[in-house]
């Protein structure tokens, strides 16, 4: 036993984390390179944008001279390495639009988005777990049908339309919440609802499936035969068993939350990085777009790495099976 445990631990520390970190670095290099390539393929370049943002229409010779000074005529790979070096020290350039450093701008606006996404995630988990479990327990009864019907409509709802409807009903008709965000708790309610409702609906469906799958296993029948109360089977065995797919799902939804935040923040005027990047796109503020994409990728990758580790901790079977094949 002691031997096997230490084997697992060794595998965990030596192979898994190292392999995942190596993958992470590789993917990050790819992400930054891809972003850089796409940006440099854009029709207007940094020199031109610099002048335009200062209200100057530059002549061709002036442009050429500035390009030379900014090092824009060097081969793409050279520029990428130079840019990457800067990026690693935290310097992602300056916004064409505001002249502020992209890093400062991102770190100033990120908390608002995290607040929104975090709020939505908390609401989603709090609502969808009871509903998903209820639907599974009352399978094919009225409650199950109702929950499934509503969640089906919910996953077909376009989130931007949902935002408009909520805004219209609760903001314009009932006047419960402000139409334009003031950044306080009250203006957070509608954006959080917009993000949480579709997410809840897909969670309910998946939790229902995961719980039903666990309920169908033999140990549940065995536990019932031994007279263990239903709630103890549920809380002690079924839920922990169903947790692994759900944790994976939560990690995956961080991506859709961050993406969805762009649209929702724009509609509600929430001052996060989502509305920031949509504004930046309108005026072709490339350094801001670049910085945003890279930060998002880093956050997303970090969260999925944590999710993988959490799954391994939760599911001893996965740990042992994968450990055995990798050691063999």
């Amino acid at each position: 036993m002691e031997n096997r445990l230490s084997g697992v631990k060794r595998y965990f520390t030596r192979h898994f984390v190292q392999r995942r970190l190596a993958e992470l670095i590789f993917v990050l290099l790819g992400v930054t390179f891809l972003t850089f390539i796409i940006t440099s393929a854009a029709p207007s370049d940094a020199a031109e944008m610099y002048f335009l943002s200062h209200g100057i229409t530059p002549s061709e010779t002036l442009l050429e001279q500035t390009r030379q000074e900014m090092g824009l005529n060097a081969p793409v790979l050279v520029r990428y390495v130079r840019w990457l070096g800067e990026a690693l020290t935290g310097n992602l350039g300056e916004s064409y639009q505001f002249g502020e450093s992209v890093f400062a701008q991102l770190s100033r606006k990120l908390p608002a988005t995290v607040q929104l996404a975090g709020g939505a995630l908390v609401v989603t988990v709090a609502v969808s777990f009871p509903l998903g479990i209820a639907a599974a327990v009352r399978k094919n009864k009225l409650a199950d049908w109702l929950i499934r019907l509503i969640s089906f409509v919910g996953i077909s709802l376009p989130n931007f339309w949902l935002a408009l409807i909520l805004l219209y009903y609760f903001g314009v008709v009932l006047k419960w919440f402000p139409v334009i965000s003031a950044g306080d708790l009250k203006s957070m309610v509608l954006p959080v609802m917009t993000l949480a409702i579709p997410l809840c609906c897909s969670y309910v469906r998946q939790i229902r499936t995961a719980v039903l799958e666990e309920l169908g296993r033999e140990y549940v029948t065995g536990a019932r035969a031994r007279g263990i109360p239903e709630w103890r089977i549920m809380a002690g065995h079924v839920l922990p068993g169903a947790l692994t797919p759900i944790v994976t799902m939560i990690c995956l939804s961080i991506g859709s939350l961050l993406g969805g935040a762009a649209i929702v923040e724009t509609i509600f005027g929430w001052p996060g990085i989502g509305s920031m990047v949509v504004d930046a796109i309108r005026v072709r503020d490339y350094p801001v777009i670049q910085g945003y994409v890279i930060w998002m990728a880093v956050i997303y990758l970090g969260v999925s790495l944590l999710g993988d580790i959490a799954c391994r901790l939760l599911d001893p079977q996965l740990r042992r099976r994968k450990g055995a094949t990798a050691d063999a």
Binding site: E23, F26, V27, L28, G30, V31, L34, T35, I38, T39, A41, A42, P43, F152, V153, I155, S156, L157, P158, N159, F160, W161, L164, I165, L167, Y168, V172, V179, I254, G255, S256, L258, G259, G260, A262, I263, T266, I267, V277, V278, A280, I281, R282, R284, Y286, I289, Y292, V293, M296, A297, Y300, L301
Partner: protein
């Protein structure tokens, strides 16, 4: 078992008819529309729904119902273009990666990892922002992230298929690699790809409409659902019908395609 299979087939039939009906409406939208979707009538701007204009009019007095009917065409067309793009690219890359294995496989898979590292819609928004605003740019940007899902599915199926007996028999029979891919692997992979695409098409439509809602896709004045919703934002207080009806059209369409997707899965998936 047999009975539930039958039921699934009936459901598939019903939803296929509904989807075909919607496609029919989208194709003949301009014939069904009671008014010219581009004709503005300055005497009746922002008028609420009545007998003449069932869904009201917009800021230029254009009939909202006509705009919804005519806008359906471009929404459907773009969604199908995108679905075709992602399934074809995904299937080809997936089969090649899975069948070739080794270095080719590793390189292709790592490229997919890189694309998967971006939250989908974020990347699409950024790509559209960089390559410029336009309908086909949004399709390209979304397709660029979306195909990886299909490639992964096809690759993992190909890996397990390529050592099956019937593939080896074809190989011993002297079939060329491309023939094996086309005649042995593709028919096995296709049902899964079709299922995935059918379940995905509603999401594609929402994502495309979402980008045009952000003002990144269509150029006015041509009607398009996402852009109509974008325009309706300013008139939320005075003309809510401008946002309610295009949204309902989008919701109903997505629901029909999602129902169709579910029933396609029930019929094709051997597990059910």
């Amino acid at each position: 078992m047999h009975k539930s299979k039958n039921k699934a087939a009936i459901r598939l039939g019903i939803f296929s008819v509904m989807a075909l009906l919607l496609i029919g409406i989208a194709v003949c939208g301009s014939l069904l529309a009671p008014y010219d979707p581009l004709a503005s009538d300055y005497t009746i701007p922002l008028s609420p729904p009545d007998a003449l204009h069932l869904c009201g009019t917009d800021k230029l007095g254009r009939d909202v119902l006509s705009r919804i009917l005519c806008g359906a065409g471009s929404s459907f067309f773009l969604t199908f273009v995108m679905a075709a793009l992602v399934t074809v690219i995904g299937t080809v890359v997936g089969m090649v990666a899975g069948y070739a294995g080794g270095l080719t496989d590793s390189i292709l898979m790592r490229c997919m990892d890189i694309l998967l590292a971006f939250p989908g819609s974020v990347f699409a928004i950024a790509v559209t922002g960089i390559i410029g605003v336009g309908i086909f740019n949004t399709v390209a940007a979304l397709a660029l992230v979306w195909w990886t899902k299909y490639a992964r599915l096809v690759r993992s199926m190909t890996v397990s298929l390529k050592d099956r007996d019937f593939v080896w028999q074809a190989r011993f029979g002297g079939a060329s690699e491309s023939k094996i891919l086309l005649c042995c692997i593709l028919p096995e992979v296709l049902p899964q790809v079709v299922t995935m695409a059918a379940m995905d098409i509603g999401n594609m439509m929402i994502s495309l409409a979402g980008l045009s809602f952000l003002g990144l896709a269509s150029q006015p004045p041509a009607p398009e659902w996402g852009y109509m919703l974008y325009e309706s934002r300013q008139y939320m207080q005075t003309a809510p019908w401008m946002m309610i009806f295009p949204g309902i059209a989008l919701l109903v369409t997505v629901m029909v395609f999602n129902l169709l997707g579910d029933s396609v899965r029930d019929v094709l998936d051997p597990k059910n």
